[in-house]
Amino acid sequence: MTITTAAKRRHGSLAKVEARQALGFASPALVGLALFTIVPVGLSIVMSFFDWPTFGARTFNGGANYLRLFEDPNFLPALRNSMVFTVLYVPLSVIFSLLLAVGLGPRIRGRGALRVLFFIPVVTPMVANVLVWKMLLQPQGLFNGLAQTWFGVELPNFLADRNWAMIMVVVMSVWQGIGYNMLIFSAALEQLPESVLEAASIDGATGFRMTWSIMIPMISPAIFFATIMTMITSLQVFVQPQMLTGGGPGNSTLPLVMWIYNQGFKFQDLGLAAAGAWILFALIITITALQFTAQKRWVHYEH
């Protein structure tokens, strides 16, 4: 008896020591998380209920900011633009990167180098990528220049047309982001069990059928994951329209994050901006939740 209680006590004090040490290890992260995440999140809720200019007096205004959002001439268009961007961008990005990942199969010579190539725009500064596209899309730029020289066709002035501007923001973004999802899919494809692929090929599955009926379903968890992440990031789109079109022409490419930025830092209305940010957050959470509900219908997990 005495031995076990002594052991227990010893064990208890050891556990205490370990808990203290754990606190030591975790404290930098905990302090940082409190200061730079928990406090801002709380503060953001508070701010969204205040008339909160960058400088000057703050006054509580109930939910007035949330009502003002819907009277703002640009908020609903911005909401719509972010959705339109997402609806266009996510499927294009996922489909093209999936095609690339499948296309860059193990039998392709130089696949390593090609992968790096497709990945380069993912890591280069977005601002630089956008400047390059801005040059290409000028009325006298490469695209229109080639179209005129080779085919005698005059292309529209992409960045000055309401519809074309959004399309080009999407096209540029697909080009920029495709390498990321491609690598996610490549990694998933490489982890497919050899045995299943062999069994399928013995059963006569080749080429397209092998890809469509065997490989794609087997990496559907990766596709699901990539779709969700791409959707979340595309609802947060900012730099591409900011640099490429400045949100224009008019407000036709002004996305939600740019609206938040403008309210907060151009018009110094931090309260209204915070309220807008919560709408964005609600949107992201809702769509992610919907995706998780829908996944049961098309995602196959192994276990």
């Binding site: 992260a29 190539l117 280069t124 290409l136 220049g145 990321y180 050899e194």
Partner: protein, 309 residues
């Protein structure tokens, strides 16, 4: 929410670390090819190489445009080369604006930020992954929950916090606020959990405390995942735009490369030649990084990709 989503295969990472061609020859052997299969393979090569060429066209054309005289940027018909090859455009970028300052600021804040992230993530990952304490899992779930809050929601209140701290227009503000995200901690915790406990216990029996086991056993075994985390953290600092744009006002002395590049493009007005040269310059370090680390890229994405950018 389960805390064990997306467990990266720690053992595989340890085993594969330093041995890069485990999977390069996979599936490339097999039966001899039929003529039809050979034709398909050739067509596949044509398709992916044409796609790659089209894909690279914007960057290649931007590079050649950076070498043209400004007046010939939009000449008709478009051509790769202008009347002369002006390497001096690249030099002129540095005279036109404080470009060295932008590069220096980006380097400094990216490296410092990465070091902070590494320190915070490995220590917290150790506490959450390998030490036992009351409330650990509850706190960890709270950690994970913060991953759902997008940075765009945080920037408005964060700016207010920076004002209270008196950090607006400082290096601290560029380094610290987004260095405590839960992602790094999550990644390291997942990896640490896969390290066999016997290794740590042996050290403990020899009288090593947690600090020593952490520094001498756990960290050396985690080089690969630490490398992955460093690269992705560095890139996210190097490319971040919205936050530096907000929290610095004096771009001339505190501008990072993306912010500098954006304001530079306003400054240079219609100097497309300089804008292209500056863009190309800003792409060089990240491109070199990716080429140097290409072998770890897929593995890194398989691991780090499970969590965002």
């Amino acid at each position: 929410m389960s805390t064990d989503i997306a467990v990266p295969s720690t053992k595989a990472m340890i085993a594969v670390d330093g041995d890069d061609h485990v999977d390069t020859e996979r599936r490339s052997g097999g039966a001899p090819m039929t003529p039809a299969a050979r034709v398909r393979l050739i067509l596949a090569h044509v398709a992916v190489y044409v796609a790659a060429a089209l894909f690279m066209l914007p960057l290649v054309y931007a590079f050649f445009s950076a070498l043209k005289p400004n007046g010939e940027m939009f000449a008709m018909p478009p051509s790769l080369f202008g009347s002369e090859i002006r390497w001096s455009n690249f030099a002129e970028v540095f005279q036109f604006g404080p470009f060295w300052t932008y590069i220096g600021n980006s380097l400094f804040t990216s490296i410092a930020g990465t070091l902070v992230v590494l320190f915070v993530s490995t220590t917290a990952g150790y506490a959450f992954g390998r030490l036992r304490w009351k409330g650990r899992d509850a706190v960890f779930v709270l950690f994970l929950a913060t991953l759902m809050v997008p940075a765009e929601v945080l920037v408005i209140p964060m700016f207010q916090v920076m004002q209270w701290f008196g950090w607006v227009d400082t290096y601290q503000a560029l380094i610290f606020p987004f260095a405590f995200g839960a992602f790094g901690t999550f990644l390291m915790r997942q990896f640490f959990r896969g390290i066999p406990y016997e290794l740590e216990e042996a050290a403990r029996v020899d009288g090593a405390g947690p600090v020593r086991t952490f520094a001498q056993i756990i960290l050396p075994l985690s080089k690969s995942s630490i490398a992955v985390l460093s690269v992705f953290t560095f890139l996210s600092f190097w490319n971040s735009y919205l936050w530096p744009l907000i929290v610095t006002v004096d771009y001339g002395s505190l501008g990072t490369l993306p912010v500098g590049l954006a304001s530079f493009s306003g400054l240079t007005g219609t100097r497309w030649d300089l804008q292209m040269a500056a863009s190309i310059i800003s792409m060089i370090p990240t491109t070199i990084l990716v080429i140097a680390l290409q072998k770890h890229l897929v593995k890194g994405i398989a691991m780090a990709g499970l969590g965002g950018r």
